[in-house]
């Protein structure tokens, strides 16, 4: 539940989602759900040559289970806070 809450706070920010098939999509985080399914707006594909078909897509829904990474805006992350929260969550507190 920690990352769900965390991503909810990131809504509206620019993120880059990298999928397990190596596709990377940059966009504005529109919404996220408890399974970390992600909806992005104003999307543009980072590697256009590999996935030309994605060029015309502006909004998309990405299944949480295929996400490899979500790259966050550097100033959008309080690392210490996240580190402590992750530690607490893993201990089951």
């Amino acid at each position: 539940q920690l990352f769900f809450s965390y991503f909810k706070d990131l809504v509206g920010q620019e993120v880059t989602v990298e999928l397990k098939n190596d596709l990377a999509i940059r966009g504005t985080l529109h919404s996220v759900d408890q399974y970390l399914n992600i909806k992005l707006e104003n999307t543009r594909v980072v590697d256009q040559d590999k996935f030309p078909h994605m060029l015309s897509v502006r909004n998309c829904f990405i299944r949480g289970s295929v996400v490899r990474y979500v790259q966050l805006p550097p100033d959008g992350v309080d690392v210490d806070l996240l580190h402590d929260a992750a530690r607490r969550e893993a201990r089951g507190a």
């Binding site: 999928l19 999307t43 078909h53 897509v57 998309c60 299944r63 295929v66």
Partner: protein, 231 residues
Amino acid sequence: MVVGLREFALRTGDGSPALDESSGEELMHVQPSVAVALGDRSVESPGTLYITSRKLIWLSDADVAKGYAVDFLSISLHAVSRDPQTYSSPCIYTQIEVVEDEDEEDEDEEESNGVLDLSKIREMRLVPSDSTQLDTLFDVFCECAELNPEPIEEEGEEENGHNWVFSADQMVVGGGGEEDAEWQISQSPTSVIGHSNGDESIAQPMLELQINDQRFDDAEEMVHENETKDH
């Protein structure tokens, strides 16, 4: 559950697809007059799109033996595609997860010897003749994707149920100094406790203590570490 796109030809008397009612599969949306384009192939039409709570089915109107289905669990991504330069008609663009075949070097090869292998299809477009329906279709896809989260694996027989690794120390299998000997006997903290005595009521607080040990190497924790190692 089948990964990827597959053929589907089970129809009921009225032409609609046969659903797996025993598992609670329900029809969510029907969109007539939809063409489908698999991968780089040209579009196939006319057909009808059936969206169920578990999967997406396209049935050809012209050929009753032709149809395709893909579980929402296999749909990695879906989007509305409107740029005429990328594709001639506005459509729903989807990416489909495929079973990775280690032997296959050319991942884009869908056809070999002229036979189309549906399970290798990675992209699929659905082109409704009524493009005003695209946003509705996109929303139905979102809804159905949300209805199909990853199935949760059975929680383990261990009391804590989790198999989280907190530090590299937990992974030590062989070697290491004497102080690691206890860890080598067992593969999880709970069974170390079990070795010392079988009293489960002690296990829980002891487990927490050991998890703390995994996490912190602070000097003040060393006292606790020494205590537990005596057991």
